[in-house]
Symmetry: C2
């Protein structure tokens, strides 16, 4: 372990997982934390509640398709939703740099307010800190959230099973490429927008349709490749995905090719990956496609017994390769 914190410890990838497991988790260890999901589920008598937290440090704070405020609300809602919970309440903690524009701040909290209303959740507690100019970068936002499980399902990263189909709710790489092109001032002759959105309405419909969802996760930092590797590890299964099935917008694909990024590792902020029993996969995709949030949903692969903890990509030209978790840091401060 290096003696200094590296940027890659916040990447979402291998280095972050190692840092969290070796340094943080072993100190804080308890059965709920040790499940290593993006949310924790606990009981209050017969009620099952979900609790999640995320800090947002995206740079730039305004980007095509949204701003740090949208991410802060939608991101934490999505973390709650991925275990099948209905999001109820959010907290907001601001850390603001002295001298930050009030006008920009108001735009951000307007976005937060709108996203919360749209998703039907209330922000019920908060905190504001201000640090001296130069001691933070404009604004950082933490949101934590509480949700309730109105079902008795066990939708968890360690519950994917061989035979499960792997569904993605839409196109990949939009958010990461929107932030990157804005940050680097790259003018691309196309309109790449962040996909930031709350997925609670989509998941509500999915859960009405079926109780055969075993695991869900939103592929944010580290992208689809990293999320699939996390699930393969937690569930001790192999996962095969088909390159030709991966939904990618033409403009995102072009930008990735031009800039040398693999879209499988680029962050998404309004997508989910679901691991579901094979017999309901097709009909579930139809249900998802009937919604705005899931209109590009499709099956991208399946869970296998072979190659436990590995993700295998079947390429368009008929080959296979192992897709590992993100190593190093691809795009710092993407969310």
């Amino acid at each position: 372990m290096a003696k200094k914190i590296l940027l890659s410890y916040g990447s979402g990838g291998v280095m972050m997982h190692r840092f969290i497991n070796d340094v943080i988790q072993k100190k804080f260890s308890n059965p709920l934390l040790d499940k290593l999901n993006d949310q924790s589920v606990f009981n209050i008598e017969k009620h099952r509640l979900a609790f999640s937290t995320d800090s947002y440090v995206v740079d730039p704070i305004f980007f095509p398709g949204g701003n740090i405020g949208d991410l802060a609300i939608n991101g934490t809602i999505n973390d709650l939703v991925m275990c099948g919970a209905k999001p109820l309440y959010l907290s907001v903690g601001f850390i603001i740099e002295e001298g930050f524009d009030i006008d920009s701040f108001e735009v951000i909290i307007d976005s937060m307010s709108n996203c919360a209303k749209k998703a039907g959740v209330n922000i019920i507690t908060g905190d504001t800190k201000v640090v001296q100019s130069g001691k933070a970068d404009k604004i950082f936002i933490n949101t934590s959230g509480i949700g309730i499980l109105e079902n008795d399902l066990n939708i968890s990263g360690d519950n994917a099973k061989p035979g499960d189909k792997v569904i993605i709710s839409g196109t990949i790489g939009d958010h990461g490429m929107a932030v990157l092109t804005k940050r680097e001032g790259i003018m691309i002759d196309s309109d790449i927008k962040s996909d930031t959105m709350a997925l609670n309405r989509l998941v509500e419909k999915m859960l009405i349709h079926t109780d055969k969802i075993h695991a869900m996760r939103d592929p944010t930092r580290g992208g689809v490749a990293t999320t699939l590797n996390e699930i393969a590890n937690q569930s001790d299964v192999g996962i095969t995905i088909y390159e030709k099935n991966l939904p990618i917008r033409e403009n995102v694909k072009a930008a990735c090719e031009m800039l040398g990024f693999d879209p499988l590792y680029v962050a998404n902020e309004g997508k989910l990956i679901a691991f579901v029993e094979p017999d309901i996969a097709e009909s579930l995709v139809e249900v998802m496609r009937s919604t705005d949030e899931g209109k590009d949903a499709c099956i991208i692969g399946e869970v296998i017994k072979e190659y436990p903890k590995k993700v295998i990509l079947k390429t368009s030209i008929g080959g296979s390769r192992v897709v590992s978790m993100l190593t190093g840091e691809q795009l710092p401060r993407i969310c």
Copy 2:
């Protein structure tokens, strides 16, 4: 309203209250948030739960008596406890500056782990972000917490009543002066230590003793003066306090005098102020004094009908003066 965020918007005082009320609260408004307590209480069927959040940006991160990790755990526990809740679960969100020492980080999370164990709460979900060197100041920590109210009391900042006695659990100003003297490198010939500690065990004992507590709050940013003004405002009452009753350590008093601080405005991180029915005040103080956390507890004043929304200090020499909320910024980044 200035067009830029000022340091004083994070002070805990008048400017922060104005900023929060005018800019944030009106956008996020809902009945639970609008109560403006340091925690929100919501129902899950017949269960009452409390939810709170705080970000910690203290500078320096290590100070006599504790570090940022102790504050992050104890502070959020205390916010939960102030409505009479039993703290159950915490989330932790780290924002770390690239290049920060792993050794220092480990000391901090050791402290967090120890404080959580001591208070009997579990950290069940978390998030880690890393930003580039120079984009944050070493480490910022957000903790959010969930507690349960195992009583049907309404302990709330808007519930103080004329006749109530005002009790403080111990000496004031310790935390603020410990951080300040460390930060400024002031060598004082005495050993001022932060009072950071969790107050859940103390409040448990208080609630076993009586159901006649109307309001409680921990006097952190802005100190005792600001907290009393908050309660006077929320409850629409006057509050009288007696200078001669205020418990202040000699070394803290000397440091305040030397450096020109009024201890009434200096932050505390292990103290509470309780507003209680007069007939149980004396016996409650006895109960508090039987604990480590409350061994210096005493009655410092009472709630009055006259002078609504004002705090009146009866001075040692027999005069009276209005004590207002903190204005401007006394000690930035005190927690």
